[in-house]
């Protein structure tokens, strides 16, 4: 009997010693100078698919890649209207030059003293200095078919030799890395030119993306995924070696990624301008300081949103997105924090994403594609504000044009004449389109339109029903075609739809990255003009606009292109998404630019406050131990008495 009670006591003691903190201990308690070691804990929705900068084209992978690798340029972390590029690995912004044979080109100068992370792939494990051939090697990898760079065809349109190098490698079955890199002219160790086929001002944005980040040949060759001397090496895509502010020290698939600061990092200092005036004192304290502030980053992979939220509430994550499941818990009807979260001193951020969502008409469809008045009528009838209230908690921004805020050419006061939710105007336009009250003027038959949607749950079905009803207010009948994501994408690619909903997230904040969705020569399935809009005048203006640097003339062209889309109405702009995010009181956010993926580079935390709040929010009551002990004791006594009785 005594043994049983001892067992119960030990079990209770062990349980009492447990903590609900899911994170492992940090690498160090303190830094070499005695100050606290700063670790940031963040949820991560899935494993990155690959950490190869030339291959990855998804935001998850970029969120890690941009901490490990850096590119020639980067976005200013605080400026969003307009967005601004600043040098990163480059000494200064590139010069526009002309090659002796007349090709336009950009000349880049690389900063001196930038070193790759210390790694086994380098002699004696010491990272070597970054040089221009590392950038050239990145461009060779872009052209290598085995790397599967997803933006090759876009870049090959502008960069000399990229297409030929790729075609030759495909023909021979392997890429010849001994040949000079396509489109790159290495001038000296710290200078190189990118030679273009035609003017390409958007190249600067591409030079801020991971695709063009320099890569060490030693790392690619060393991490080949094969066994050497009995040791199997990782593949390069899982073992990144860059020049960025952090280096990857552990990636446990499905579990976590751990990064620690690169002690040799000197590339970027905290900006000295661009912050909002009301937060001048906070930002001024960081201005000009070496980065990163954090010593360690711990990303916990959490595929479900609820556990991530629970851990945020317990103080074990620095930030959280406010999803639909928890929106009412954290956000009041006035779109402010609820009293409970105000009491916790949590920070609320409302971030407009550089993206636009819209209805897209198939311009090759004999009904909607050939009848601009019909498209204008549908556009005029649609009440997005109501949709926003019902389905999006009223937080999204009503879109009046294709370009989202912050993108060059966005007009804040622009009112789309066909997006004012005026039913009378819509009905008049519908009659002019040949369908008075939604019926064909010639045959008297009710007009039937098919709306293709991605529907994978009850809510998306309700959403589609709402959209159908909005359009049916005109007297038209709308049939909803339900699709899975893949089927929907396939239909859109093949042009097998009448109208559908779609969205575009900016790769970079240039109007070219939005208007090319309607460029005739970019028609699907080869390109991204899914609605197959073909307007020679639009194409001509677009071709002119995309090759221009930002200027009043370019701005005027952008406005004209916008006006054309509004009048022709191949799409109905609906909304710009807004995301509500929360940060803990000890981890107030710094970066304001949604295009910056390397946010943790600029972030700092207050470990003392975190410890204090975690203790406050995770107090362990004694009663569960008492209950367990009592239950076990009762069961033991009962079993003992029962066995006595039955013997």
């Amino acid at each position: 009997m005594a043994q049983r009670f001892l067992f119960i006591a030990i079990a209770c003691m062990l349980l009492a010693g447990c903590s609900n903190d899911p994170h492992p201990p940090a690498f160090h308690e303190k830094r070499a100078d005695g100050t606290p070691w700063q670790v940031s804990y963040a949820p991560f929705p899935d494993d990155p698919r690959s950490l190869d900068p030339q291959f990855s084209y998804d935001t998850l992978s970029h969120s890690i890649i941009c901490l490990i690798y850096e590119s020639m340029l980067q976005y200013h972390p605080l400026k969003t209207d307009p967005y601004e590029l600043v040098p990163c690995l480059a000494e200064s912004m590139p010069e526009r030059i002309s090659t002796p044979d007349g090709h336009p080109a950009y000349r880049f100068h690389i900063k001196h003293g930038i070193y790759f992370h210390d790694d086994l792939c380098f002699p004696e494990g010491k990272g070597r200095e970054l040089v221009a051939t590392d950038v050239a090697y990145a461009f060779q990898r872009i052209a290598d078919p085995k790397v599967e760079c997803p933006v090759l065809s876009t870049l090959a349109e502008y960069i000399v030799g990229l297409q030929d190098a790729n075609a030759e490698a495909q023909k021979k079955g392997s890429y010849d890395y001994t040949k000079p890199a396509p489109g790159i002219r290495v001038v000296d160790d710290h200078t190189f030119d990118i030679v273009l086929l035609k003017p390409f001002p958007q190249l600067l944005y591409w030079m801020a993306m991971p695709f063009t980040a320099p890569v060490a040949k030693e790392a690619v060759n060393y991490y080949d995924g094969k066994t050497h001397d009995g040791i199997t090496r990782e593949q390069f895509k899982f073992k990144p070696v860059g020049v960025g502010p952090f280096r990857l020290v552990a990636w446990r698939k499905g579990l976590s990624l751990r990064l620690i600061r690169n002690d040799h990092y000197i590339t970027t200092k905290f900006p000295t301008d661009g912050w909002p005036a009301e937060e001048a004192s906070r930002y001024a304290a960081m201005a000009g300081k070496p980065l990163p502030f954090l010593d360690e980053l711990y990303f916990r992979i959490i595929r479900e949103s609820i556990p991530a939220w629970v851990l945020f509430r317990q103080g074990y994550f620095e930030r959280a997105g406010v999803g639909k499941d928890v929106f009412d818990t954290a956000i009041s009807a006035k779109q402010e924090l609820t009293p409970e979260y105000q009491k916790r001193d949590v920070w609320l951020y409302k971030d407009a994403e550089p993206a636009t969502y819209y209805f897209l008409f198939n311009m090759q469809d004999p009904v909607v594609g050939k009848n601009p008045k019909l498209r204008q009528a549908i556009s005029s009838a649609y009440d997005f504000d109501l949709e926003n209230e019902i389905f999006m908690n009223g937080i999204f921004l009503n879109a009046q044009q294709l370009l989202p805020p912050g993108v060059y050419g966005y007009q804040p006061n622009f009112k789309n004449p066909y997006r004012q939710s005026k039913l009378d105007q819509a009905k008049r336009l519908l009659a002019e389109a040949g369908y008075p009250n939604g019926h064909d003027a010639k045959t008297g038959k009710q007009l039937l339109l098919t709306l293709d949607m991605t529907i994978d749950d009850a809510e998306s079905r309700q959403h589609a029903e709402f959209q159908k009803e909005q359009i049916e207010r005109l007297g038209i009948e709308v049939k909803i075609e339900e699709n899975l994501w893949a089927t929907h994408q396939d239909k859109v690619d093949r042009g097998n739809f009448q109208f559908t909903s779609y969205g575009w997230h900016a790769d970079y904040p240039d109007p070219e990255n939005f208007f090319f969705l309607f460029y005739g020569k970019n028609a699907a399935p080869e390109g991204n003009n899914y609605c197959r809009y073909a307007n020679p005048e639009f194409d001509k203006l677009f071709e002119k606009m995309r090759e221009m640097e930002n200027s009043p003339e370019r701005l005027e062209l952008v406005h004209r292109l916008n006006a054309m889309l509004v009048e022709d109405c191949p799409m109905i702009p609906l909304y710009y998404p807004v995301v509500f995010r929360l940060s803990q009181p000890w981890a107030q956010r710094v970066v304001l630019n949604p295009l910056v993926f390397s946010g943790p580079k600029y972030t700092q935390i207050d470990p003392g406050l975190r410890r204090q709040k975690q203790a406050e929010w995770n107090r362990k009551p004694a009663w569960p131990l008492a209950v367990i002990a009592a239950l076990l004791a009762a069961a033991g006594i009962f079993a003992f008495q029962w066995s006595q009785r039955h013997d």
Partner: protein, 324 residues
């Protein structure tokens, strides 16, 4: 016995082939390799990139029979995949390019850490409770126990998980609500709650099942004889009834043993345990057909192996049964 085993092993081949054929068909009915590529490369990927991806993985070959002139008829997606599975060369993940065998190796241990303790605890607890209910059969306690068991059977495992996380991790802060770490003794704190929930969620059905088996035994003549000879009811229950009842129970339990390695889809997903259950679920979400294919293949082999093991156990524990 030997000829029976050889025959059973030979039966496995057409069954596994059928399973793989159905998996192949189902997967490609739901989505084409092109849409898989699109999902993996992202909606912005250009057609050339998609074509390149398909080509590098052999998804641009004909589906079943290659009728192209100069090509072998078996140079198709299905036959290539069957060949690689038959040689246990699972290849690489479509989504990440990681070796699938490595993914299995990494996933098996976390899965076993959850399923083996749950299995042992659940088995012993169910056995004990079933024997107890048999000993108090036809009493109010027995009736109450059965009602509780039926109620426990009716509650989906997700409810147990949500309630368990809320009570143990959120309200009382004793254990983590989520997470896993292979770090010696501290791994235990991540296992207690999932193991407890796994055990409890299966308890209702298992107690009922074992109780029924033991009830059948307790009405046998040998039990009456033992009691008539003056053997105590506890001894009758724990020696005679338990031993004979175990013949039926072992055959049931053994079939599920190979499956322990496959982990639990729900628990691993809710607790973020990187086991094989989580691997399969994630592969389905991300359209990673190569991982789904390899996992289904492994699952079907384990299932058939479990059935074979059951038959062998029958013969081993019950001398009256001879396998022919």
């Amino acid at each position: 016995m030997t000829s029976y085993l050889i025959r059973r092993i030979l039966y496995m081949f057409p069954i596994v082939f059928g399973v793989m054929l159905i998996t192949f068909l189902l997967f490609f009915v739901v989505q084409t390799p092109k849409s898989m590529a699109q999902r993996i490369l992202g909606p912005k990927a250009k057609p050339e990139a998609i074509q390149n991806w398909l080509h590098n993985r052999g998804y641009d070959k004909p589906r079943f029979i290659n009728a192209e002139p100069g090509k072998h008829w078996w140079d198709s997606q299905f036959f290539h995949q069957m060949k690689s599975l038959a040689t246990f060369d699972f290849g690489n993940s479509d989504a990440t390019g990681e070796r699938i065998l490595n993914m299995f190796k990494h996933g098996a241990i976390p899965s076993l850490l959850i399923t083996v303790p749950s299995f042992i605890c659940g088995f012993l607890l169910s056995l004990g409770l079933a024997l107890f209910f048999v000993s108090v059969r036809n009493s109010k306690l027995d009736l109450g126990g059965i009602i509780i068991c039926v109620a426990m059977m009716s509650v989906p495992i997700q409810v147990y998980v949500i309630f368990g996380q809320w009570l143990v991790a959120v309200k009382t802060s004793y254990l983590p609500a989520f997470g896993f770490d292979m770090a010696g003794f501290s791994t235990a704190k991540f296992l207690i709650l999932p193991v407890l929930l796994y055990t409890v969620s299966d308890l209702g059905s298992e107690v009922r099942l074992y109780r029924t088996i033991f009830l059948e035994e307790i009405h046998q003549e040998y039990v009456k004889t033992a009691l008539a000879k003056g053997v105590s009811s506890t001894r009758v229950l724990f020696v005679h009834v338990l031993k004979n009842g175990m013949i039926a129970i072992i055959t049931l339990v053994v079939a599920s043993l190979p499956f322990l390695i496959m982990g639990s889809l729900v628990l691993e997903n809710f607790f973020g345990i990187p086991g094989l259950g989580n691997l399969l679920l994630n592969a389905i979400h991300t359209s990673d057909f190569s991982v789904v294919r390899a996992t289904v293949f492994l699952g079907s082999l384990l299932y058939l192996f479990g059935l074979l093991l059951t038959d062998i156990c029958y013969a081993a524990v019950d001398p009256r049964i001879r396998l022919q």
